[in-house]
Symmetry: none
Subunit: 401 residues, 2 copies
């Protein structure tokens, strides 16, 4: 069912939903004892929720697809990432906490090297330092364009964000990045006649950037791609009737939550701090998204024990969350990050939903293999979780007579 | 796969399929012992079918969606209710057993109250009695329109059905119900140029109705909405090659079955009567839909024990059905109606399919938690059941070479 159809079924209720996301939660067994990170962790509180709730494994995007955090979080929020696509420029903005406004067009930028003839010899300018990147971005900020503000923000190494702000700008601009060395940078072209003026502004920016960077041995050119505006999507309030708050310390997650109309509450990068923010704002929202990042970082580092410890730390704050008596709590991850793979992976992710009206299954432990036998099934689409939670919070009307 | 594609695979066979629907079958655990209605019921015959068959839970419409009986039955018959939508007028006709013909346009009508200025003060005319409704409908039937027959049928309280019958009528007419008090009734507008004449006829009906009802203190106006023709859908015979018979006492279910080309056999509202009708017509059809209504009514009343008793009554007639030796029997509900919620709900519905060629699983009992581990899985779309049954009846050709 499309979001627009769920929207027709919204029903006001004073119930509250918590979505607790352990980033990269899903794992794979280690050799010594065949247990995954979650199975090896001592998680009495999560196990109790699993026993009282309904469990399963969710598939974030599609079979076999390893998702980035953007698409996997969109899916968790109920937005099919194959329908709701974020342009690279908008994603870069989110990643550094830059809030795109309604008159902004963003592009992902690379500092690059061109030879005397102007051909690209290194698309990443030898991965210059972030410090140099900052210096060069400060220079580029001085570029002036007619009727458009120019913003240039450092991301890291050779990567930066370009934002043009002004009335009537369009995202229908082709990339200037030729994607291979030995080629000339491409002219920015309008892929829609309404983008002609924007294309001229981008061309002027690139020409001036080249002059400004002429003294640089490596970073003497910029390449731009993924021109994008802020997506105009239904908010979670519009789609599901949920006034939402994000309790997440990292910019990408805060930015994505804001895109969906949630408030991104100020919070430090610590679990007790996150729970304290939750407690403080409990009265003001219907939906709380809590993000625990370090399960993913430990997985990416290949630190099995570190990830186990992070899961146990999250388990430790569960009783404080449950003291608030949420009507529905979902505990899951956005994707799998098995320590043995040291990266995101395509594996379905353990999930539990606990509410008085969920239909309890026979799962007694929160773990990958236990969840396979759960009532949500071993491959429920991630996009189904919020609709089920909203229904369990008695916030959906009947469909049809 | 779309119905049109299954249609290409139809294969003639002298096999018979029974679909036994316990309305609102799915339940939730009661507090005392944690058993659902179906789990608490003593159902030796259904348990044997579950043990001999393949089990699971089906999702009627979409995750979290609580379906009305119309959409949920469509899904059970293999028609995706998000594709096959019934307009409210057509649904009202079905609900009172009014068979819409090919030249009919139906609308749901409300008797309403307007003030001296013509503004709506009560969209339901104080919920007048059904008796008064009948009297007023008799008056409205006297309205004459050029080249169109006027039919007005009582539904209940303030609700009635308007049907206009005539060549070239269209359903592309906007509602006259303003949906809020303090507003004037809306003019019926053609939302398609081909509906201009129909719009004029509807306007003329409303004008005359207002005169006819002028002496009424409360019901002095009519509001119309959901103009709809009989949907032109493939019949079950066209889609799956099944000559079908509906054995259902309630008008909505009979009407819906007729929409899909089934014969609605005459039957009293009793299980033994239904089985007798089944036996009597066994030779004449390929597909029998048996509807047991009272499981839903008891659930809606919050009567857990009453629903248990109804399930046991259905279990009691299963041996007589099995004596007919159907090649395939499906036993399920159209949706869940847990007694603890006193209403339809979004929870998946237990289902078993028993045939010599189903692939038996390890489920030994017909119940929600037992079915979660079944071979059909815990969330099979309801629309998949008829295709599986038709295949199990050896009535589908191979797809592709």
């Amino acid at each position: 069912m499309e979001l627009a159809e769920y929207r027709e079924l919204r029903r006001a209720e004073a119930t509250k939903i918590v979505l607790l996301v352990m980033d990269g939660l899903g794992g794979l067994p280690r050799e010594t004892d065949g247990l995954t990170e979650l199975e090896a962790a001592h998680t009495p509180n999560l196990d109790r929720l699993a026993a009282e709730g309904i469990c399963g494994l969710h598939e974030p995007v599609a079979p076999g697809v390893t998702p980035g955090s953007g698409p996997s979080h969109l899916a968790l929020f109920g937005y099919d990432p194959l329908t709701y696509r974020v342009g690279r420029g908008a994603l870069s903005a989110m990643g550094i906490g830059f809030d795109l406004g309604p008159h902004d067009v963003a592009a992902r930028g690379n500092y690059a090297t061109v030879d005397a003839d102007g051909r690209v010899t290194d698309r990443r300018a030898g991965r210059i330092s972030t410090a140099l990147n900052r210096e060069l971005c400060a220079r580029l900020r001085a570029i002036e364009l007619p009727d458009a503000e120019v913003m240039v923000e450092t991301v890291a190494e050779h990567r930066f964000l370009l934002v043009l702000r002004g009335e009537g700008l369009s995202e229908a601009i082709s990339d200037t990045d030729p994607q291979s060395v030995g080629e000339y940078p491409l002219e920015p072209r309008a892929t829609d006649p309404a983008a002609d003026r924007t294309a001229r502004l981008v061309a002027a920016f690139v020409a001036q950037a080249r002059e400004v960077l002429a003294d640089q041995p490596a970073a003497n050119m910029v390449l731009l791609r993924g021109f994008a505006r802020r997506p105009a999507w239904p908010s979670m309030e519009e789609a599901f009737g949920l006034r939402g708050a994000a309790i997440a310390a990292y910019p990408m997650y805060r930015g994505l939550a804001r895109l969906l109309g949630m408030d991104a509450l100020e919070v430090e990068d610590s679990l007790p701090a996150a729970v304290e923010v939750l407690e403080r704002h409990w009265a003001a929202y219907d939906f709380f998204y809590l993000h625990a990042k370090h399960t993913d970082s430990e997985g990416e580092d290949g630190d099995f024990e570190g990830k186990v410890a992070e899961i146990e730390r999250v388990d430790g704050v569960v009783p404080r969350i449950m003291q608030l008596a949420p009507d529905v709590i979902i505990v899951t991850g956005d994707h799998s990050t098995p320590a043995v793979l040291r990266s995101h992976s395509w594996h379905p992710v353990p999930v539990l939903i606990r509410s008085p009206y969920c239909r309890r299954d026979r799962v007694e432990r929160f773990g990958e293999r236990a969840c396979m036998a759960g009532g949500l099934g071993p491959r429920i689409p991630a996009t189904a979780l919020i609709p089920i939670a909203v229904a369990s919070a008695l916030r959906l009307e009947k469909y049809g007579a």
